[in-house]
């Protein structure tokens, strides 16, 4: 058995053990299972946020894009950081909603139909995220250990599904903490390794200046249309991410939730600098790679000392697994909290909710694996799903949290209008090259504001907004 495989097996066993140890805590109620009974302290919150936020697209994807495209990927990284900054600003309000899923917030302001619409958006597009991470894990495990692609996908899916089934949010959060240590350590090691090889980033740039096209060094090379749409769907897309909202819901208090989100922002600002540097330097070390996204696996296999290479391999698996498990749990929470419970005539017992949640995790894991094995459209769909979520959910969510005047009908119609117009524009293949996000977002905004202003203001406000009203009233009095 090779060293990589030994590390891989040990890692999987440790992840499963976390599931075993958290099983009892998670099994008590739905709130325990999906948001760890709102008990996560600062360290665990930070770990789980880092693990969840840094997925395969941020690391391997950005390395590949920087290898091909160069400087502008720093700007792309900035878009991500701005998205998380926006979420950090929203954290106190999100925490106050005491939700379990994002549709909980929308349902509170816009009624039960909004819950179903938002939940369907989440379900359809987040299966793509889990499947995408499964495929990435399959590629990495296959290229490093020699295991077959399908076997690698099945093994990794079975492991993260088992610990998620057993320990719910507890298992996902604690494994995320371990995984985030590997992720950050691995990324830093890769950066140091690559820089040592090329003799510093200055050397890499000097060589690139002689071999790469001038556009490679242009921060705005892809042009205004591309960049502005990229910023729009990334920032508004991140705002809608239920996997991050659920970590905010799971915090022990608002103060810790806020601290953890700003710490995540700090980590992201630092970490987002690394993949573009690695990608550009990899172009110097390994010119002409057919698949630039495989740059780090190629380094592990062909350049790094075996022990260090094995640790970086584990950090790559951690990147993908920490996002896959969070999204899988998030999917299950949508089905249980947004469909199963509301559609039941009688309120189910805590025990039956937990059992149903575990069964749904199994079903969602199987569906994601099937999508991963049989679909070849995962990667384009990853970008598309962020665009649809950004256009359909972001503005209604912001309005639900901050705008007292928004009406239920406006919220529901804007969600459907924003999402549907984006999908239709994409199906029409974006006429005139006009990005679909700039169709969906204005449609959503016009419907949201227009209908709200035509209708009478809502009579009843949720606690997180009425609290503010009473506070202001106190001051005036």
């Amino acid at each position: 058995m090779n060293l990589y495989l030994v590390f891989f097996v040990i890692y999987l066993v440790v992840m499963l053990l976390v599931g075993v140890f958290t099983k009892d805590q998670a099994g008590k109620s739905m709130e325990n299972y999906f948001v760890a009974s709102r008990s996560l302290g600062l360290v665990v919150l930070m770990g789980t946020l880092v693990g969840t936020a840094l997925g395969g697209s941020v690391t391997m994807g950005t390395v590949g894009m920087a290898y091909t495209g160069g400087y502008w990927n720093w700007l792309a990284a900035l878009a991500g950081a701005l998205g998380y900054w926006a979420l950090a600003i929203m954290t106190p309000k999100l925490y106050k909603t005491k939700g379990i899923t994002t549709p909980d917030i929308l349902a509170e302001r816009f009624g039960p139909a909004a819950r179903y619409v938002a939940s369907i958006f989440n379900l359809l597009f987040n299966i793509v995220v889990v499947a995408g991470q499964i495929i990435s894990m399959g590629i990495v495990v296959q290229s490093i250990t020699g295991m077959s692609f399908n076997a690698a996908m099945v093994v990794t899916t079975v492991v993260f599904a088992i610990y998620t089934i057993m320990g719910g949010m507890y298992a996902v959060a604690y494994t995320d903490v371990i995984q985030s240590v590997f992720i950050l350590g691995g990324l830093l090691y890769v950066l140091v390794f690559v820089m040592a090889k090329v003799g510093g980033f200055g050397n890499a740039l000097a060589i690139l200046h002689s071999t790469a096209p001038p556009e490679f060094f242009d921060l705005t090379a892809p042009g205004f249309t591309f960049l502005s749409s990229y910023f729009a769907y990334t920032i508004f897309g991140i705002i809608t991410m239920q996997i991050i909202h659920q970590r905010i819901f799971a915090a022990v208090d608002e103060k810790n939730a806020k601290k953890a989100m700003y710490s995540l922002l700090g980590v992201i600002v630092l970490v987002y600098i690394i993949p573009p540097m690695v990608g550009m330097s990899a172009r110097v070390l390994m010119p002409g790679l057919a698949d630039p996204q495989s740059a780090i696996p190629m380094m592990i296999k062909n350049m790094m000392p075996p022990f260090a290479g094995a640790l970086v391999f584990i950090s790559l698996i951690s990147v993908m697994m920490s996002t896959a498990d969070s999204t899988l749990l998030s999917l299950a929470s949508n089905i249980v909290k947004d469909f199963w419970i509301p559609l039941k005539k009688e309120t189910p017992s805590s025990k039956s909710v937990v059992i149903m949640s575990k069964m749904i995790v199994i079903v969602m894991a199987v569906i994601s694996l099937i999508v991963a094995v049989y679909s070849k459209l995962i990667m384009p769909l990853m970008v598309f799903r962020l665009t649809v979520l950004a256009a359909g959910i972001a503005l209604p969510l912001l309005a639900a949290l901050y705008w007292k005047r928004v009406t239920a009908a406006a919220g529901l119609v804007s969600m459907i209008g924003g999402g549907a117009s984006t999908i239709i524009w994409e199906l029409l293949k974006s006429p005139g090259g006009f990005p679909s996000i700039f169709v969906g977002l204005p449609v959503c905004a016009v419907l949201l504001a227009g209908i709200s202003l035509i209708q009478s203001p809502p009579k009843k406000l949720p606690e997180w907004l009425s609290e503010e009203v009473s506070k202001k009233g106190d001051i005036q009095a």
């Binding site: 700007l75 878009a79 600003i89 090329v198 200046h209 002689s210 071999t211 096209p213 892809p222 350049m303």
Partner: protein, 202 residues
């Protein structure tokens, strides 16, 4: 409130920066009329100096005849390029510039025709490791500007003659191996702009 204002300001600034940049189509268009059909790198390491002969088989894939070819020599720390000579079919060429050299060809290279393009140079700044000591050699490989490399394995071959008593620990690009205690060889699919060798004194 101040944080929110700063956030919006930053967003506006970024969008403003994006104005006037080239389109994606412009970004991906490769303006190349020269193809390197085959290349051979032969180097000899002696003291702190490497003598290199780089033979390219160059084809004009454009519609117009070629009279000038750009050659780019990366400038990296530690290593410097000296005694640069370029010839075409053994005829010496006139060079202009230092790192981005313009090479005036001794004759017009007609469309679809090939020529032998030879670059010879010395690299200084390489240190031979003492017994037990480890060193990294970074060998610069000049490139013909805007050229593409014909696809296929072993299109770019490397042969490096090294003094005895040196072990090769690792190499970038991948595909270079120590075939004997005094020779490192390999065949590559694409032209490297740098060859990095981790060596150790025996």
């Amino acid at each position: 409130m101040r944080t929110k204002a700063l956030f919006i300001l930053l967003l506006v600034a970024i969008f403003a920066i994006g104005c006037g940049a080239p389109s994606v189509e412009e970004l991906v268009t490769v303006n190349s009329a020269v193809e390197v059909s085959k290349a051979e790198f032969i180097g000899t390491v002696e003291d702190s100096n490497v003598t290199v002969e780089l033979d390219y088989l160059v084809k004009n894939t454009g519609d117009e005849p070629l009279t000038v070819l750009p050659v780019v020599i990366p400038s990296i720390s530690e290593v410097s390029v000296n005694n640069l000579n370029i010839s075409v079919d053994d005829k010496s060429c006139t060079l202009e510039g230092e790192n981005n050299i313009s090479v005036k060809l001794p004759y017009e290279l007609a469309s679809d025709k090939e020529m032998k393009f030879k670059i010879s140079y010395d690299l200084s700044g390489i240190s031979i490791p003492e017994q037990g000591e480890a060193n990294t050699w970074r060998l610069i490989v000049p490139s013909i500007g805007n050229s593409t490399m014909a696809s296929g394995k072993d299109k770019f071959t490397v042969e490096l003659n090294v003094p005895g008593g040196i072990a090769l620990k690792s190499s970038v690009p991948i595909g270079l191996n120590a075939v004997s205690n005094e020779k490192i060889q390999g065949g590559l699919e694409s032209a490297p702009s740098i060859i990095i060798l981790d060596v150790q004194g025996l």
